[in-house]
Amino acid sequence: MRRTKILAAGAAIGLAAAVAGCSSTKHTGASGGSNASGNAVPALSANLKAGGTVTIANETGATWNCQFNPLTTNQQEANGYLYESLLYVNPLQSTAAPTPMLATGYSWNSTDTQLTFDIRPGVKWSDGTAFSAQDVAYTFNLVKQYSSLDTFALWTAPAGGGAGLTGVTASGDKVTMTFSANASVFFYDVANMMPIVPEHIWSKVGNPTNYTDTKPVGTGPFVVSSCSADNIKYTANKTYWMPNEPHVQTIDYPAYLSNDPANNDLASGKANWGGQYIPSVNSFYVSKSTNNHIWSPPVANVSLIPNTAQGPTANLGVRQAIAYALDRAQIASIGEQGEEPAANQTGVVTPTFNAFLNSSALSSSGYASQNLTKAAAALKTAGYSPSHPLSLTVKTVTGYTDWDADLQVIKQELAGIGIDVTVLDEADNTFTSDLQNGNFQVIMYGPPAGPTPYYELHLMLDSANDQAIGTAAQGDYGRYKNSAVDAAFGQYAAATSASAQQAALEQVETYMINDVPLIPVVESVDWYQYSTADLEGWPSAADAYAQPSPWTYPDVEQVLLRLYSKSAQ
């Protein structure tokens, strides 16, 4: 049994303060190490001594069930800690080469229909068994056999929106995957998102869909030391393949049921890694200690989705009027308290995806800043004016208080041109159902992020995702139909060069400006708070080596591999 920290209840008062540390350590900024590429082991800070504890304060909304099946719904606590993928692709540096993990390299054939991975030799599972290319082929074929595990639709035909994987075979140290069409846009899912599981264990567990995996065996840098409903404690994997890694020896991941307690523990220094919205973060968190830092890279848009199939927003003039009338900078500074930046009408998230932004198209469009004259004119073409006002209902999800604040600003801004906005806060379930069924005039939504703008825009605009209103759609919630845009997405997917991808995306950006099928308002960010009281090596704006939130997997592994304890050195 672990020795308890507290001998008398009274003594514990100082506990939080003790952990917070009073050392006036200066923030040394970015630690060494760059994104390695090629066949080398990632060049992480060498010669660092082991020690230190990471305590994560991240709202998980539920107590832990102590299951670690990385293929179903336990990804967040399994992937990156216990299980690893073949390569690591950094969504924040989409042009950088992938970091080799379980694979040391990869190659495509000329048509991007066959992908070969070189599998790293000398890796061991945490039970001591040797890892091999067979395990990789086994994992991919396992999700083929149990299609409900095929989270990324890898084995679904391209016509059904899948990657069109047709076979995965292992031979020696190589794994070869064949696809029925150009699958380059699925590289992120195949190489980065798919955790590899051990064949010698998983082949004996029966149906892997409801395998609870309470004693996980993986290749990752950590193993589960103890787990209760309240906390997962991970300790360093002694047989981890990367030499001298991980430096940090323990991770505590308490289950926070809501934001406030997690935020309190971050502010008091009890926890050193956070990943959720903190209102007034500067006074509540940053100012509490010189060791407290934040950095929130934007990764996707929070958009108003107009219903383009029915109602007043089916009229282009109305959509244009809304897009012209929004002062996005004001929404970001008031609604988001400056913690999320303003978005732009091209749908390309800046500065993260600056390389893809067609900035001349944006500036000539007139959407670069608020333009009330154009807004009023556009509204007039649609037949509305302040004397004949338009009433719109905007739906949003309950509990996203920053979105509520955004919408209050939006409501005022639109009132100025004669659009009367009613905001409707809906419970999670109702919201999802209305979003998918197209049951809205305008709805506020932030889709998941991807490694390039393609992923978000494709999800939101490609009419292959389309369904009739009243039937649940898995994308294109606004029911936007434009065969030219669909074709541009096709060109992007079939492109074999970066410039061809760029050209395809610029076409989509043009339609975003001309048709206003989405109205991006602010950019959603990875919330991220970190304390340098004892730990260094955190990702930062200067060294954006991974998505920084503790809930982004498999990025979390990259962070854990770089962290080190200052007191242990």
Binding site: M1, R3, T4, K5, I6, L7, A8, A9, A12, I13, A16, A17, T55, G61, A62, T63, N65, Q67, T72, T73, Q75, S147, S148, D150, T151, F152, A153, T156, T209, N210, T212, S226, S228, A229, D230, N231, D252, P254, A255, Y256, L257, S258, D260, P261, A262, N264, D265, A267, S268, A427, D428, N429, T430, T432, Q436, P448, L459, A472, Q474, G475
Partner: protein
């Protein structure tokens, strides 16, 4: 005997009605478990694939409502509660409840008993010394505190004692870095973590007991038998507890039985504010995620607890008060 049969059959009928509503109402809520799962894990998997994950844990999206209802009744009675299809996907409902129930019973159950005991004693004293020092400020203060929303009191206490003064932990049922066991550190940690939520509940619930008790005392003290006791020259203390309080407490007893019934349903908001992983918190999660198996078991337990408490209160009152027996 007729009374017992009538009460029991009423009990069974109410239970059946509550369980039937409990089955149908969640299923008429907007959304379904598949959509909830999809919103939660945010991947592009088709709803059919997600439904098949849920099906492997017992979710039957395509079965008719009537056969589902019959299976539900059978499962509830036989304790075949199945597995969660919400946030704790695949975890047996029985385990979830066994894990959460002790915390709720411990925190809220004990607080209810303490609030009842303290409240009654204070009410007796205040009513006995009507217009005295205690009576002049206590009831008026309590009218205010009893009407404060307890989640608000909770947040205020967190702000004061945890965030500003840093004296007490604002969250969890114990320090999650301690391994549970019978160690002084663990028990100390449990007690320390219970202080703020328990105090929140105490402050907001004690007022009701004191006010009723005080008012009942004032009425009872004016009764002839109390005057008689005084005339006999009995000690004040004996009259206060043995004559006045004993009778004044009757209405509070049935209220107490009812509030014990409500202990199980926890105080959803208190558990939420203090990150206290009890039953109330599980209920919130279950409702948010259309987790039918967990939701229906929790509601059933709450219903049974309240109904049993009411039944017990009925029987107890009859035993205490012969007049009720006559009417019954």
């Amino acid at each position: 005997m007729r009374f017992v049969v009538r009460r029991l059959s009423m009990f069974l009928f109410t239970l059946w009605a509550a369980m039937t509503l409990n089955f149908f109402i969640p299923r008429f809520m907007p959304g379904n478990p598949v959509q909830a799962l999809q919103a939660r894990i945010r991947v592009k998997e088709s709803p059919a694939a997600l439904a098949s994950i849920l099906s492997s844990f017992g979710y039957k999206p395509n079965a008719g409502l009537v056969p589902q209802y019959l299976t539900y009744l059978k499962d509830m009675l036989t304790g075949q509660w199945g597995a969660s299809i919400g946030l704790s996907l695949g975890e047996p409902v029985r385990d979830i409840i066994l894990q959460a129930a002790p915390w709720t019973l411990g925190l809220i159950g004990l607080t209810t008993v303490v609030a009842f005991a303290l409240g009654n004693v204070a009410g007796i004293v205040a009513g006995w010394r009507r217009g005295g020092t205690l009576d002049s400020w206590l009831p008026s203060t309590l009218v205010v505190t009893a009407n404060l929303p307890y989640y608000w009191v909770g947040m205020l206490l967190i702000l004061l004692f945890a965030t500003t003064l840093n004296w007490l932990p604002p969250d969890f049922n114990y320090d999650p870095t301690i391994l549970p066991g019978f160690s002084p550190g663990f028990i100390g940690s449990v007690l320390q973590h219970a202080v703020l939520p328990a105090f929140t509940l105490l402050v907001t619930s004690i007022g009701g007991w004191i006010l009723t008790m005080r008012n009942n005392m004032i009425t009872t003290v004016a009764e002839d038998y109390v005057r008689m006791a005084r005339a006999k020259g009995l000690a004040d203390r004996k009259i206060m507890f043995g004559y006045a309080a004993r009778n004044a407490m009757l209405p509070n007893i049935s209220g107490f039985a009812m509030s014990l019934g409500f202990v199980l349903s926890g105080s959803v908001l208190v558990e939420y504010v203090f990150n206290y992983p009890g039953l109330g918190y599980q209920l919130l999660n279950a409702v948010d995620n259309n987790d039918y198996p967990l939701m229906q078991v929790l509601f059933m337990l709450y219903t049974v607890a309240v109904l049993v408490a009411l039944l017990a209160a009925d029987f107890f009152m009859v035993w205490l008060d012969p007049r009720a027996r006559e009417k019954g």
